[in-house]
Subunit: 200 residues, 2 copies
C-alpha cells in the first residue's frame, strides 16, 4: 500500500468537507447521501470511511470547519484594529451568513437518534467555545456590557441563527427574511453594546 | 342519526384538543398517533374525522387554542390595569411557557410535506396576528419603543421560543435552560421597553 502523507490526508479530508457543502447547497437536504458526497469529492467509499466513521461525523467536521473560518475572520478584524463595535456587528452578521448552510440546517433537524443528539450537543458546545472569547474580548474593550452571561448569549445567538435558517428552509416568513434579520441584529446590538452616551 | 347540538360538537372538538396535549406530554412526539388521541378522548375514529380532516388539522387547532388562551390571559392583565411593562414581561414569559408544548415542538419539526409546511406557515401567521395588537397597544401606552417593527418582533419571539423548545427537547444546552431563558427575557426587555430614564 502506498504511504499517504499527512498533507494528502488533510487534502482528502478537506475535499470531502467541500463536497458535502456543495452537494447540500445544490441538491438540498434530501440529496445529501454518502454516495453523492463521495461522487462529488471523487474519492472511493473506502477512502471516505478512512477519514470519517459516519456521515454524521463528516457533518460535524463541516460545522467545525465553518466555525474555524468564522473565528479566523473575526480574529483578523480584531487584529486589523477594527473598532470593537464593528467587530460585534460583524460577529452577529457573520454568524447569520456563515451558519446559513443547508448542510447545517439538515444536521440540526436530523432524526433524533442518540448519535445525532450527541453530535448536535457537541456542535452547540463547539460554537459556544469558539465565540465566548470574542465576546469576552469585547467586554474587556469596553464595547460590550460587562453584566452579560457570555455562554448564554452565544447560545442565544446560535439558537436564533438556527431558527432563522429553518424558517428560510420552509420559506415560512410572516414578515420577511430581511425584516426579521434587521430586527435580530438590532436586538442583539441593543442588548450587547454599551450605550453610546456611556462612552462619552 | 341523532341530531348533535352545537354545544356537543364544540365539546367533542375540545375533548380531542385536550387529548392531543395529554398524549403528547405523556408519550412524547412518537406516541402522538391518531389512534392514541382517539383512545385518550374516548371517541370513535369516525367522530375524529367528523371534526378534523387530518392529524395536522387537529394539531393546528391545538395551537390555535393555546394561542387563544394566551391572548385571553394577556388581555385580562391589560384590563386589570397591570402596568404595561408588566404586561410585556408577562407576554414574553407566557410565550415561553405556553408554547413549551411537546405537541407544538412535534408539529414544528414534522416531516417537510407540502401540507405540513402550509400548516406551519399558517401557525406562524396565526401567532403574529394574535400578538401584534398587544405589542401595538404597548407602543400606544408608551411602554414599548415606537420604532419597532411589530410583525417582525413577534416573529422573532416566536422563532426564539421555537428554538428554545427544540433545545429543551434534545437537552442540548451548553449553558442551561435557566440561564438561556433569563438572557432571552432580558434581551427582549432591553430591546422593546422604553428606557426608564425616558419615562421620568
Amino acid at each position: 500500500m502506498p504511504k499517504i502523507s499527512e498533507e494528502q490526508r488533510a487534502a482528502a479530508r478537506q475535499r470531502l468537507i467541500d463536497a458535502t457543502v456543495a452537494v447540500a447547497e445544490r441538491d438540498g437536504v434530501d440529496g445529501l447521501t454518502t454516495r453523492a458526497i463521495v461522487a462529488e469529492a471523487g474519492v472511493s467509499a473506502g477512502m471516505f470511511y478512512g477519514h470519517f466513521d459516519s456521515k454524521e461525523a463528516l457533518l460535524a467536521a463541516v460545522v467545525d470547519h465553518k466555525t474555524d473560518e468564522l473565528t479566523t475572520l473575526v480574529h483578523a478584524e480584531l487584529e486589523l484594529g477594527t473598532p470593537m463595535e464593528g467587530v460585534v456587528r460583524a460577529l452577529v452578521d457573520q454568524l447569520v451568513r456563515v451558519l446559513d448552510l443547508k448542510v447545517l440546517a439538515s444536521f440540526r433537524t436530523g432524526a433524533g437518534t442518540e448519535d445525532a443528539l450527541a453530535a448536535q450537543r457537541r456542535i452547540n458546545r463547539r460554537i459556544v467555545d469558539a465565540f465566548v472569547p470574542l465576546l469576552e474580548a469585547s467586554v474587556d474593550a469596553g464595547v460590550v456590557r460587562p453584566d452579560i452571561d457570555p455562554e448564554a448569549v452565544v447560545e442565544f445567538i446560535d439558537l436564533v441563527i438556527d431558527g432563522l435558517n429553518r424558517r428560510r428552509a420552509l420559506d415560512g416568513f410572516v414578515s420577511s427574511d430581511d425584516r426579521l434579520t434587521a430586527v435580530i441584529i438590532a436586538a442583539f446590538e441593543r442588548y450587547l453594546l454599551v450605550p453610546q452616551e456611556d462612552l462619552r
